[in-house]
């Protein structure tokens, strides 16, 4: 049953760019089920390396799309790095929640399930607030449209990363 729901979520992610098929067929896809089971066991160190890789690629995408002048870049990247430190703290808690979810998944009680989604919701609120709180700092170092573009890119990347993460986490009780 667990594998079935993983497959369903993989399909959910897979139909992202196919509006007509969106959400139509999300169950019973055995071909997709090997993705998690074939993943090798890794250490916390490996997880840290993967997260560093995501951060690096995120930065590359931002750099490629922002088209900053040298003067803008000099001011922008220190603010970006400080912002990402805040974002990383939020991500640390998300990783620990995912671990807790995995540990309790097979025998999750009503209270545990509710506690986890409430904490996840609080993390969502904190992350969205962080982004809003940092907007003036980016506006202080970039022209208005570039600051808005950064916000747009950051939001899109965050949502995409989140969606991909969720696509491998089985739904509660399935």
């Amino acid at each position: 049953m667990l594998k079935k729901s993983i497959a369903a979520l993989l399909i959910l992610a897979g139909v992202l760019l196919v509006p007509a098929a969106m959400l139509a067929q999300q169950q019973q896809q055995p071909a997709q089920q090997t993705q998690q089971s074939s993943t090798p066991a890794v250490s916390d160190q490996d997880i840290q390396m993967l997260r560093a890789d995501i951060r690096s690629q995120r930065k590359q995408i931002i750099a490629a799309n922002m088209q900053l002048t040298d003067a803008e870049a000099t001011k922008f990247w220190p603010v970006y790095d400080a912002y990402m430190q805040e974002v990383s703290k939020n991500a640390d808690v998300r990783v620990s929640l995912i671990k807790e979810y995995a540990q309790t998944y097979d025998n999750m009680t009503n209270q545990q399930a509710l506690g986890l989604v409430k904490r996840w919701g609080a993390l969502d609120q904190a992350f969205t607030n962080t982004r809003v709180n940092w907007m003036p700092k980016f506006e202080a170092v970039l022209p208005g449209k570039k600051a808005a573009l950064f916000y747009q890119l950051d939001r899109r990347l965050s949502q995409l990363i989140d969606l991909q993460m969720m696509s491998l986490i089985p739904l509660i009780g399935q």
Partner: protein, 167 residues
């Protein structure tokens, strides 16, 4: 097992961020959507119906749970729809001003979008205790999980149809 679970999650996240993928599909030359209001209304209606089907399939409610859950869901969905009205309105405005967008307009639009994101999250948290009253805890939590994923999916899909702000 635990680390494998987390690693699989992160591996996929890393793979998704290859520069040749997501963002290359959203360059400044991405054409603006040309659908009219009627098309958008139909699309939204279709997505709402499909979301409801998906929730039905995954929640596996008993008859008594369903009788208590769906009226509350409809009430919640009506609140969410108001926020989505704002989001779609913003997209329409974005398309209208895209070529001549000023810094003030760009700033205003991203702030309104941020407000909409915050409102959705707040709504979800406000409604959770009410869903807890009509469903067992794991099912109420499952609904929130599904709802969050569907909202995120819709956002990513919408974003994929729009060009990025041209600096």
């Amino acid at each position: 097992m635990l680390n494998r679970f987390v690693a699989a999650t992160l591996l996929v996240a890393a793979a998704s961020l290859l520069p040749t993928g997501f963002m290359s599909a959203q360059t400044y030359s991405t054409p603006l959507p040309t659908v009219n209001d009627k098309d958008v209304a139909l699309l939204r209606q279709d997505l709402q119906a499909k979301a409801k089907q998906l929730i039905t399939k995954n929640m596996q409610l008993t008859d008594s749970e369903a009788a208590a859950f769906w009226p509350l869901y409809d009430q919640y969905a009506a609140e969410v729809r108001k926020v989505n009205d704002t989001r779609f309105g913003l997209i329409k405005h974005y398309a209208q001003v895209y070529k001549t967008m000023t810094a003030v307009e760009a700033d205003s639009m991203v702030k309104l979008l941020a407000d909409a994101d915050q409102t959705i999250i707040s709504l979800r948290m406000q409604y959770l205790p009410r869903f807890e009253q009509v469903l067992p805890g794991t099912k109420a939590a499952l609904f929130m999980q599904l709802d969050r994923r569907l909202d995120n999916l819709g956002n990513v899909q919408l974003a994929s149809q729009l060009p990025a702000i041209k600096p």
